[in-house]
């Protein structure tokens, strides 16, 4: 199995210093990602879900060292990229790409579609002639379902769904192995969202891609992912194959999260599980389990000690004493 691993993350932390002080004790941190370890196999889609502030985007950005992690190791195809210098890191960009949430702000409004998609080729494939690059851009547009005629137009002339297609075309221009999709369909209309989900699925097959799919939308994540990781306050609460997570969630947080989704059936308006309270202030985390302040089954032990992620079923891991 080990050969299949494309990504292996060990004890990754990303802490933001909010208040600097010479006295380390007095520094105030937000532990946006706190001791996170997991692996991703080649060709897999790992969904990352959680509520706002759970650290899912921070995790995605730290994995590519777009934001420098505070500590931990990231192995990409067996190599620890934490030891990479800036030149190696630049080369790594070819293999790992990040697709941002908002297709409105992730493209330069003054650049034409051609310039936007050709940029990664200009950077990494200096050997290509401009004719070759032009052909490649046309080909990429075709792959994402746009006509090559759009090349000379500007981002504002496109709808949200079309922009997301352009961003995806840029993302796959260098034939990456791993794509981090951060809320890639969240800003889109329902009827367009399905088109982009299908496109991502198609590309995955066509180019043998591995996805980290970050989203707050559990339905979309369930649909697209092989496995799902549930984050809460920067820590992994549960990680399991997608079907298992929904049919047999072990962590109380996962259960409330799934229970709070609407069933989408007006005849069967089951009481949604109402999770009381709100996410605690990340500057002032509970001492034990981060979920203990809202957990319906928390005990004194949970409030004192932090549970570690442990196996609770086949390929299923949860960090709860009672899972």
């Amino acid at each position: 199995m080990a050969n299949d691993q494309i990504l292996s993350v060990e004890h990754l932390c990303k802490h933001f210093v909010l208040k600097k002080s010479l006295n380390k004790e007095k520094q105030v941190y937000v532990k946006a990602v706190d001791d996170v370890s997991f692996t991703v196999s080649k060709g897999e889609t790992l969904g990352i879900v959680g509520e706002s502030g759970c650290g899912k985007s921070t995790l995605g950005r730290s994995l590519l060292r777009l934001w420098e992690p505070t500590s931990g190791d990231i192995y990409f195809n067996g190599e620890n990229i934490m030891s990479y210098d800036s030149r190696q890191l630049r080369e790594l960009r070819k293999d790992m790409q990040y697709i941002f949430q908002d297709p409105y702000s992730s493209m330069n409004p003054k650049m034409t579609i051609r310039d936007i998609i050709v940029e990664p080729l200009d950077n990494f494939h200096k050997e290509m002639s401009s004719k070759e690059k032009e052909d490649k851009v046309a080909h990429l547009l075709d792959i994402v379902g746009l006509s090559p005629d759009v090349m000379n137009r500007y981002p504002h002339e496109f709808s949200g769904g079309q922009r997301q297609r352009i961003v995806i075309a840029r993302g796959i221009a260098l034939n990456p192995q791993l794509l981090v999709c951060d809320e890639s369909v969240s800003a889109l209309d329902v009827s367009v969202q399905a088109q982009i989900i299908n496109l991502l699925q198609k590309l995955k097959k066509q180019f043998n891609l591995t996805y980290l799919f970050i989203s707050h939308d559990l339905r979309v994540v369930k649909f697209i992912s092989d496995r799902i990781m549930v984050l809460y306050l920067g820590q992994i609460m549960e990680i399991a194959p997608s079907d298992t997570l929904f049919s047999d969630p072990k962590h109380p947080y996962t259960r409330s999260l799934i229970g709070s989704i609407s069933k989408g059936n007006p005849r069967n308006r089951q009481e949604r599980v109402i999770l009381e309270g709100e996410i605690p202030n990340p500057m002032n985390l509970p001492k034990g389990c981060p979920f203990s302040t809202r957990c319906p089954v928390a005990t004194d032990k949970c409030r004192e000690q932090k549970p570690l992620l442990r196996p609770v079923g086949e390929n299923q891991y949860a960090s709860c004493f009672y899972a």
Partner: protein, 331 residues
């Protein structure tokens, strides 16, 4: 028969832009019954928010109601003077809550001051009494330690708490109608469940009717009694929520329901509706949906269909031309 509390007739809203004048809302009619929840569902550009803003008379400067009537309790509010509307209708009979409470709340006023302002304005109470009412309402919307919260500024509250404050502000005057425009869209799923629950509770406590504007069909399934589906400023289908979900008639409604990923097991490809919603400046001729419609016919390209009755539903589509025609909006 329950009593009709809000009746909108042939409402059209026009916007003036650099590229010309466009109908954001195009000749729509609907009614809201007492103590019912009517959901208006649609994608961006469908005119669902403009409809609610038109009722609240909060349209942007370049927009105006070009035709139609809006009856609240059988009075046409479009015939009233603006001061009459301000004093007798808005805030008193109809309140509104918005998607992003941070932009709807005044950032430099304490929560308490914002709530008491409307109580003093509409109920003519003194400051002290208004404060008590405000405190009481904050308790009712489930804000913990309201005595402290009432002294805080909006930025000191979380998104869910701010939405609760918005709801409290909307409720202090005991309105008959509450218009909720995507009130849970910006919230996390666990908080969304809390707020929807709260809205349901308050609806039965205060006997309020709710006009719920949303893009989220799952939310509609959970809270609506009746549903209006809008596309490009027109109502293309309406009916009781169960009929709309189990037996959608309009190709657009069918498509929308099919494209939603469900929690049931299935991988592979999602059904899609081809293309995207046309922008207001580029609406096609005939039926606005025809370029995306799998059932389009020749006449769909040139004529706008009338509204036909199918069971409990009304559908604006030529596929049902043989059925009883409710009205003809054809132009």
């Amino acid at each position: 028969m329950s009593k009709t509390i809000l009746r909108v007739e042939d409402l059209s809203v026009r916007f003036r832009t650099e590229e010309g004048v466009f109908n954001a809302v195009d000749n729509i009619s609907f009614t809201l019954e007492e103590q019912k929840t009517l959901a208006i569902v649609g994608e961006s550009g469908s005119g669902k928010s403009v409809t609610s803003l038109a009722i609240m008379q909060l349209l942007a400067e370049n927009g105006h109601i070009s035709s139609g009537e809006i009856y609240v309790d059988d009075e046409n509010i479009l015939n009233m003077s603006s001061s009459q509307v301000q004093h007798n209708i808005l805030g008193k009979k109809i309140s509104m809550i918005f998607q992003e409470p941070m932009t709807a709340l005044n950032p430099i006023l304490k929560i308490g001051d914002q709530i008491t302002e409307s109580i003093i304005e509409h109920q003519g109470t003194g400051k002290k009494e208004a404060y008590e009412i405000a405190l009481d309402t904050l308790k009712q919307v489930g804000i913990p330690s309201p005595e402290q919260r009432i002294k805080q500024f909006p930025h000191e509250l979380s998104g869910g708490m701010r939405q609760r404050v918005m709801i409290a502000m909307a409720l202090v005057t005991r309105p008959k109608i509450m218009i909720a425009d995507e009130p849970t869209t910006a919230l996390d799923v666990t908080i969304e469940a809390q707020i929807l629950n709260l809205i349901e509770q308050l609806k039965s406590t205060f006997k309020t009717s709710i006009l719920f504007v949303t893009h989220d069909l799952n939310v509609v399934a959970d809270i609506a009694d009746d549903v209006i589906v809008m596309y490009c400023g027109q109502i293309i289908e309406r009916g009781p929520v169960v009929d709309i979900f189990e037996n959608p008639q309009h190709p657009y409604t069918k498509g929308l329901l099919a494209t939603m990923p469900t929690l049931e097991d299935h991988k592979g490809e999602l059904p899609t509706i081809q293309g995207g919603v046309p922008s207001i400046t580029q609406r096609p001729g005939g039926c606005y949906f025809h370029p995306r419609c799998p059932h389009r016919m020749k006449k769909c390209e040139t004529q706008s269909p009338g509204v036909y009755t199918v069971g409990q539903q009304q559908v604006k589509c030529f596929l049902f031309e043989g059925n009883k025609e409710e009205r003809n909006d054809g132009k």
